[in-house]
């Protein structure tokens, strides 16, 4: 241990600190929340590996420059941004489109029982649910979320009425676009009243290779006995440094399923903070990540069981790492003293496909109650040789056999999505990834021979 | 030997009543069978007699040779000569079966004021009993019940009964999950101990076990009470007609 060093401000940190006063004056609403959040950031700076929660993702190094916060796009820019095909197009009963963090279009009317207000409108004109933004203590102090709070530009407040059984998913499409790299800060709050059932789908699409810096945050407050399905697709620009946060506050006997599929982006970090505030809630939180080239992807998860009975949490994270890429899983299950009967099981499994690939696993248990059954497992290694051999002995080529194994491996995390067309689309994206890999391998083989 | 009087039992911390004034006597030297449909309270009865903490006795008493045992801890009841062969014997990882047997035998001897067994004497007794029950030696070295098949677990229960020499044995659905060979071995284990000094209460859902362990008395249990008592022929009647008559009778 060496003496405490107060590091010099990096260029990105200095730029953010310099810009905040002017932005604060320009950005609508929640001034004191923005100030507090920014103060949290300013005190700590961009996290490095010295910060335990960021042990395997050095954000300070990844974000050398702070890209300027995007301004609201004009009609021409919007048209360019939305031109491309969205993998999840047409899946939402209602689809909200965002360009560079600003709401630009809504397709379809809100389903029965649902009301949607663009966040910018709510921030300017006021909204009864505004006070719920940033309310989850478990996530407070987190640096990615603090930055989002300080700079949030737009997003949505979604309210789902009591006992509503919402038809079709509510879809949100976020596109980052432009001639130069920008930072975005979209924020979505969804309050689900007791007994309601709803599905929320977010997709993040970035065009080209620019080093955009999207930072999005979704907050879900689930009332007693509600059922919430959540799907997130990360298809950032290949140069992106992308941060995303999901917070979930679960009432009694709620059920939450959240699946994150992470594919592109130079450095990405998806974090989940889930709190079991009511008794006997259930959560299934999954991640499927496929990495190649020099990508770095971090999945960080904190699940807090804070009520009795402590409920049941299941986490399943599957990571495929190829080339020189690196995967990170940090998962922590906390069981508070009174959260008896908690049943928590967390698994992180990674397959490394190439010599240069790396995986960092940190599965933690923090348990203060005695009548619990908690477990975690973490594995990492190459594809199972024996299974590969078995498949090949049946006449399947090595490449095909590997593809089959990879697909079923990450598919296990995707299969929890209770919506067949969306599940199929995501499986399709995994297949696309595998085809791209096969093409790379073929090209490589050609160069060698 | 076993005298159960007007026993009322509910699950602790819940309002669910399971036994509703059950009265039953098992005499020295008698083999009594309790038959009844699922959910009639058969397993609860065996647990309450043995002192499982999850139940609350709201009324009645259970006397073993005239002594009310309901206030006694489970280990004291065991030392008093009560044995329960569990329907689902527990696995205890890391504890060798031999270690467990020795601990149990000596704990009971100590409570009864007897000297502890010497190791050679202990091994001799175990080997003899194991041989009779067809229990291989390697099973005795493995952790208790861990990885044992259903049949092996049940045989292990009979081995324990043989070694602990209880005067009153309760067999809770000992026949469930057993093939015919294992069933015979278990029955022989019980029959070998049948004499005027010992008594058995055999709880079962099917007549099958009673082909091998001939009961002196058969009680029919339904909704937490004994609703009919008869001889061995009652079991055959139940086998033919089912429990329907008794379920409505209670």
């Amino acid at each position: 241990m060496s003496a405490k060093i107060t590091p010099m401000r990096s260029a990105a940190e200095s730029a953010l600190i310099e810009r905040f006063p002017a932005l604060k004056a320009a950005l609508p609403g929640l001034a004191s929340a923005r100030e507090d959040a920014f103060a949290t950031f300013a005190a700590a700076g961009l996290p490095t590996r010295r910060v335990e929660a960021w042990k395997y993702t050095d954000l300070r190094a990844a974000m050398r420059e702070a890209a300027p916060l995007a301004i609201r796009p004009n009609a021409a820019e919007i048209a360019v941004a939305l031109k491309g095909h969205s993998p999840l197009a047409g899946q939402g009963a209602v689809t909200l489109s965002f360009v560079n963090g600003y709401h630009v279009a809504t397709k379809g009317g809100p389903p029965n029982g649902v009301s949607i207000t663009p966040l910018a409108e709510a921030l300017t004109g006021g909204h009864p649910l505004l006070s719920k933004i940033g309310a989850l203590k478990l996530a407070q102090g987190d640096l990615a979320l603090s930055l989002n709070t300080a700079f949030m530009t737009d997003g949505a407040i979604i309210h789902v009425a009591e006992d509503a059984n919402v038809e079709g998913p509510i879809a949100l499409r976020f596109v980052t676009s432009g001639a130069t790299a920008v930072a975005t800060a979209a924020r979505v709050l969804m309050v689900v009243e007791a007994g309601a059932t709803v599905m929320l789908v977010e997709s993040h699409e970035g065009q080209g290779a620019l080093a955009h810096q999207p930072n999005t945050a979704f907050e879900i407050i689930a009332g007693d006995k509600s059922v919430v399905h959540h799907v997130r697709l990360g298809l950032n620009s290949t140069g992106a440094v992308a941060l995303s946060t999901l917070t979930a506050d679960l009432g009694a006997e709620t059920s939450l399923t959240s699946v994150n599929v992470a594919l592109t982006g130079a450095v990405t970090r998806h974090q989940v903070f889930a709190r079991f505030s009511g008794g006997n809630a259930r959560a299934q939180i999954n991640g499927a990540t496929l990495l190649s080239s020099t990508q770095h992807a971090d999945s960080t998860l904190v699940v807090e069981h804070a009520a009795e009975p402590g409920g049941e949490s299941r986490e399943l994270f599957r990571t495929i790492v190829d080339d020189e890429a690196a995967g990170v899983f940090q998962g922590k299950i906390i069981v508070q003293p009174h959260a008896q009967k908690t049943d928590g099981r967390m698994a992180s499994n990674a397959v490394l496909l190439s010599e240069g690939a790396a995986m960092y696993n940190k599965p933690e248990l923090e348990i203060f109650a005695d009548d619990v059954a908690c477990a975690h497992g973490a594995t990492c290694g190459a594809l199972d040789d024996e299974l590969l051999f078995y498949l090949m002995s049946r006449g399947i080529t090595k490449a095909e056999a590997e593809a089959l194994m990879i697909e079923s491996f990450v598919g296990a995390a995707i299969d929890f999505i209770d919506h067949e067309p969306i599940r199929d689309i995501l499986h399709g994206l995994v297949q696309d990834w595998l085809q791209a890999r096969a093409a790379r391998l073929n090209a490589g083989a050609l160069t060698v021979s | 030997m076993l005298d159960i009087r007007n026993l009322h039992v509910k699950i602790a911390d819940e309002d669910k009543q399971i036994l509703n004034g059950l009265t039953l006597k098992v005499h020295r030297g008698e083999v009594a069978a309790i038959m009844g449909p699922n959910g009639s309270g058969k397993s609860t009865l065996s647990y309450v007699i043995a002192g499982k903490p999850d139940y609350e006795v709201t009324d009645g008493e259970v006397l073993l040779d005239g002594v009310n045992i309901l206030e006694m801890a489970p280990d004291a009841r065991a030392a008093a000569g009560l044995f329960l062969a569990f329907q689902y014997p527990m696995e205890i990882p890391g504890v060798a079966t031999m270690t467990f047997l020795k601990a149990a035998m000596n704990a009971q001897r100590k409570q009864r004021g007897q000297a502890e067994l010497t190791t050679p004497d202990f091994i001799k007794r175990v080997n003899k009993a194991a041989e009779l029950l067809g229990i291989p030696k390697d099973m005795l070295r493995r952790p208790l019940n861990v990885g044992f098949s259903g049949g092996e677990k049940k045989r292990m229960e009979i081995l324990q009964m043989t070694l602990l020499e209880p005067k009153m044995s309760i067999m809770d659905e000992t026949d469930s999950g057993l093939d015919i060979d294992a069933l015979k071995i278990v029955a022989e284990g019980v029959n070998a101990r049948r004499d005027p000094a010992h008594a058995f209460l055999v709880i079962t859902h099917y007549q099958r076990l009673l082909d091998y362990i001939k009961p002196d008395t058969v009680h029919v249990m339904s909704r937490g009470q004994i609703v009919k008592t008869g001889g061995a022929e009652l079991a055959l009647e139940l086998e033919a007609n089912g429990y329907r008559d008794y379920q409505s009778a209670a």
């Binding site: 696993n361 933690e364 005695d370 990492c380 | 489970p74 280990d75 009841r77 467990f100």
Partner: protein
């Protein structure tokens, strides 16, 4: 009342004064003034008549230590330690090192006798088969008072002596190896130890020798306000083998005492060191008053091909344990093992685990950790498994299980698993649970009391680790675990 509830109540009522080794030995001691300055370091070195290079090494460490801060990442909390309020050297008064046991204060011999460690060879020999003999280095506060069987071991070429003697008799060996596994600036406490270490054991097993008996060191802190800073260095040359045991106790005192040791192990090609610890420092009373702060750096370097280092620890004592016996798997085909039982009760805090650093090809490691928390204690497993780029085919299996007794304690698991090669295979599993009510009832139905049933189940829980200990130690350890959970397991 449910049996588990009874058990919990008994644990709550527990007074850690059940500690059986809490007596104080009255011996006239020689101590410099309290506090740590360069003069303290010079005093210790001079008192031991050390070569100049050793003093320079210590002074360098001291200078570096002054620039460092205490680590804060472990899950332990304690009031700030006043490093100027500690005696850094305390030795029984005598003129020079004792030439024979007759020169050792009888009170000290008596103390070891009370602890069950006879130091007179003839007493040890009586009734013990030669293959069961154990050689003992007895360290009392800051000095080694005696090392048994030195002559007999020397016949086999084995050097077993205090590190002070080694600095006199084999300075070249000490100089060659000290600080090569745990560098001077490795961490705050290791650096402190490097500056002020007073005694400890030195073992050298020459090429091809299988050490003819178990070696052991018995550490006793006796004097109050005194820190113990021992240093142990074990070198196993090519193809050699040694099994080494370590035991520790201290009197019951109201103040906290610091124990900051450094242990370095080195194995060359095909060599093996098996290192076992039964740590039973005074844990403090039921309210957390007093007890040892056990801040220890232990590391093994599998320097040679196919070499092996195995750590086994039974940790029942200390107010705070901060300790991560680790293996650097440098040689191709080398193997590291860590077997641990950590029992915490009362107000104890344990933050312990291991690091397995895979550097060589085909290296393997295995971690089995069993934590038992009772009372109001906090028990953390913290571990690192890493495979570097060149560690092809590295393998690790980790299993860490925690058992909670009572609802006021905590059990935590913090593993770091880092793989930088696709050919490495790492498997990690962890569970946390309590003793099941059904298991207890089953045992009691067979006649076991609640306490005996709990003890039986706990012993089953830790069995995989107990099996790793040499027989006599295993029995001792089993008793110790029962005593540590006294109240719950009689």
């Amino acid at each position: 009342m449910p049996a588990v509830q009874e058990t919990i109540d008994q644990v709550k009522a527990i007074d850690v004064s059940e500690y059986k080794y809490g007596f104080i030995t009255d011996v006239e001691m020689e101590k410099p003034a309290k506090g740590l300055t360069e003069a303290t370091v010079r005093y210790i070195s001079a008192r031991k008549n050390e070569p100049a290079w050793m003093l320079d090494w210590r002074l360098d460490a001291f200078r570096r230590w002054k620039t460092m801060t205490e680590p804060t990442w472990a899950r332990v909390s304690y009031p700030e330690i006043d490093f100027q309020d500690i005696y850094y050297y305390a030795a029984p008064k005598m003129n020079g090192a004792p030439k024979s046991l007759d020169e050792v204060d009888p009170a000290i011999l008596d103390a070891y006798k009370k602890l069950g460690i006879p130091l007179r060879e003839q007493e040890i020999l009586a009734g013990v088969e030669p293959q069961n003999r154990v050689a003992v280095d007895a360290v009392f506060d800051s000095v080694s008072v005696v090392t048994t069987f030195r002559a007999e071991l020397a016949k086999a070429g084995v050097i077993f002596c205090s590190i002070s003697d080694a600095l006199q008799e084999h300075p070249e060996l000490v100089r060659k190896y000290i600080g090569t596994v745990v560098p001077v600036t490795d961490n705050y406490y290791a650096t402190l130890n490097s500056a002020v270490f007073t005694d400890g054991s030195f073992v050298f097993i020459p090429k091809g020798v299988r050490c003819p008996m178990e070696l052991s060191t018995y550490f006793r802190i006796n004097e109050k306000n005194t820190g113990q800073f021992e240093r142990t260095l074990i070198i196993a040359e090519e193809g050699s083998y040694v099994s080494y045991l370590e035991g520790c106790t201290a009197p019951q005192r109201d103040e906290n005492q610091l124990h900051a040791a450094v242990v370095e192990l080195i194995t060359m090609d095909n060599a093996e060191i098996k290192y076992s610890t039964v740590q039973n420092w005074y844990p403090g009373d039921a309210n957390g008053k007093g007890g040892i702060y056990n801040f220890v750096t232990k590391r093994g370097d599998c320097r040679g091909k196919n070499s092996k280092i195995s750590w086994t620890q039974v940790e029942t004592g200390s107010a705070i344990t901060w300790k991560y016996p680790s293996c650097i798997l440098r040689g191709d085909g080398s193997r590291g093992e860590f077997y641990s039982i950590a029992v915490s009760n009362g107000m104890q805090q344990v933050d312990s685990g291991t690091k397995m650093i895979h550097l060589g090809k085909n290296t393997t490691s295995r971690i089995i950790s069993k934590g038992i928390s009772a009372g109001r204690s906090q028990n953390t497993y913290r571990g690192l498994v890493s495979a570097h780029r060149k560690a092809t085919n590295a393998r690790n299996f980790t299993n860490c299980d925690s058992l909670l007794i009572g609802n006021q304690c905590g059990a935590h698991t913090v593993p770091y698993i880092e793989s930088k090669t696709s050919t490495a295979t790492f498997e990690h599993e962890a569970t946390t649970s309590k003793i099941s009510e059904d298991q207890l009832f089953y045992c009691m139905q067979r006649g076991l009391s609640a306490e005996d049933a709990t003890a039986l189940i706990v012993n089953g829980f830790v069995k995989d680790v107990l099996q790793q200990l040499p027989m006599e130690f295993a029995v001792e350890a089993q008793k110790l675990i029962s005593i540590s959970l006294e109240g719950s397991v009689g």
